[in-house]
């Protein structure tokens, strides 16, 4: 009896020990996980916070490795000093991005609807071909366009930048919007067709309103892409249509780059993009990985 009782108590003690060791291990893992999480947040935030701080530093503090300084708004007013021509560059960026999006959206909605709803020969091949154009390096595109625009006198014009930006944006837009139209149930459209509505009527009055979140997501995506676009702007503009994303490299004086102004301009460039990216967070991967996760 006592032996059995003893054995039972030994087993129980071992079980308790095992459980506590497992609990301890789990607690340790939880703490480690939290630490990694904090480290990750620091790595993400450190460069951003540092650039934001730099934007509010006086030129003297920029060259000091410190987080304590007297904040100033002077850099933001200096950025708008006419000598840097930042106001024009902001307007250029807005004109280029907005025009690109406005031209791309209807074209993309039409194409996306055709790919989603209609049957026609070579549909799959055509769709893949449009996506494939995404893989062409920008350098290959910019060389012939540079020569052509130079001959046509279109270098340093809005038209040149909008045309090449459309090339990058359109496949994304078609893909994103097609995904949304695919998800709309067919019944309403079929009912409207039975009622004798014309094809364009169905597209305009039924599909477009229902796909509005998708169109909005695609529009924001395209806006972010063109707003941040650098290569085409860098190579195809001279002084009249330089976009903001390229203008940021222009803050250079004899003493070198003016970091506090670069940082301040960086904030002006990025804040609208942060805001837009948050808006479409849910569709983040959907629109941009071109069918990776289906």
């Amino acid at each position: 009896m006592t032996v059995i009782a003893h054995q039972a108590s030994v087993a129980a003690a071992a079980a308790i020990r095992r459980r506590t060791s497992r609990q301890r291990k789990r607690a340790f893992l939880r703490v480690a996980e939290q630490l990694v999480l904090v480290l990750l947040a620091v790595i993400i935030l450190f460069p951003i916070v540092w650039m934001v701080m730099t934007a509010f530093k006086s030129p003297r503090d920029v060259y000091v490795y410190t987080m304590w300084f007297q904040p100033t708004l002077e850099n933001f007013s200096e950025v708008f000093n006419p000598r840097w021509r930042i106001r024009e560059k902001i307007i250029n960026s807005i004109v280029i991005s907005v025009t690109t999006v406005i031209i791309a959206m209807p074209i993309a909605v039409f194409a996306a609807y055709a790919f989603s709803r209609l049957a026609f020969p070579m549909k799959r091949a055509m769709f893949q071909w449009i996506l494939l154009t995404q893989f062409i390096p920008a350098v290959t595109i910019v060389l012939p366009f540079y020569v052509m625009f130079r001959q046509l006198g279109l270098l340093d014009t809005y038209a040149a930048l909008i045309i090449v930006d459309l090339a990058i944006v359109l496949p994304y837009a078609i893909w994103t919007i097609k995904g949304f139209i695919d998800a709309i149930p067919l019944e309403t459209e079929e009912a409207a067709i039975v009622d004798g509505a014309g094809r364009f009527r169905v597209l305009w009055d039924i599909v477009v309103p229902m796909a509005r979140p998708g169109i909005l997501t695609a529009a924001i995506f395209c806006f972010i892409i063109t707003w941040n676009e650098f290569l085409f702007g860098y190579l195809l503009s001279r002084q009249n249509v330089v976009p903001l994303s390229v203008g940021i490299v222009g803050f250079v004086l004899e003493r070198g780059p003016v970091w506090e102004l670069i940082a301040a301009t960086g904030i002006i460039i990025t804040i609208p993009m942060f805001f837009f990216a948050m808006m479409i967070q849910r569709h983040f991967t959907k629109g941009m990985n071109l069918g990776a996760v289906r």
Binding site: V38, V139, V147, L170, L231, V293
Partner: protein, 289 residues
Amino acid sequence: MTQRRFAAILLAPAFLLVAFTTVYPMVTSLWTSLHVLNLAKSVQLGAFVGLENYQEAFVHDLEFWGVMRVTAVFVVLDVSLTILCALGIAMLLLRAGFGKSIVRTLIILPFAMSPALIGISWRFMLNPDYGAFARTIAAIFPAMRNVDYLASPTLSMMALVSADVWHWAPYFAFMLMGGLAAIPPETQEAARIDGASNWRVFRDVTLPQLAPVLIVAIILKSVFALKVFDSIVTMTAGGPGHSTTTLGFFAYHIGFRNYDFGYAAAVAYILTGILFLLSLSYMRFAFRK
């Protein structure tokens, strides 16, 4: 109106635009790469030289193979680090928990920043005298004091890779989170009940099921890595020497610094060929039913 005709009307604008903005330059680039065209001398297309521009790259230009090596090193480092970090972040953030939703929102921030801006910020922060990165690293590792990162071929490559990983890892983390969420949890639970350790569950159950998404992510990231341009311009300008000059930046350099558009088109076409092969494999994996 027949369905076919309606489709043709709807697709026409998109096709005309895509043809004009991609097919036309692709064909022109190919044609240019077979000719002499030096914008410093003449805007007119020069003599037809056949494959001489390609021969120049593969046989005569001593810089070309150095650039190919730099490109290979950059792509391998960049892709492996981005995907590893993304996988880690995805595993970490997958389950709900305090702090995780905050971090999940935070990791969008790097992606919304333009690579050109990231490049110029990195250059600022790597300055050995006052740069925040350089000073922080020196505070942790005193041996690294006074190291000029962008003056060293190896370290400037690391700097370029780190900027690109910082920019892209969050995006691929989202993509892998989608893949992880699609794995039925029963399979992992079954393995755990059978006494498998966390590591074994990850290696033998989770990873094989994630493989299709992972392969697509790796191909896609390789494509993005080969197309990196903005951060090279604003951070290293391809230097020191040619130590961070990748193939795309090299083509730009030949075209827009030396004005040798014929040769630049040939180099750009070599890059296009590599990307074309990658994109074909991408299509195969991404569109597999």
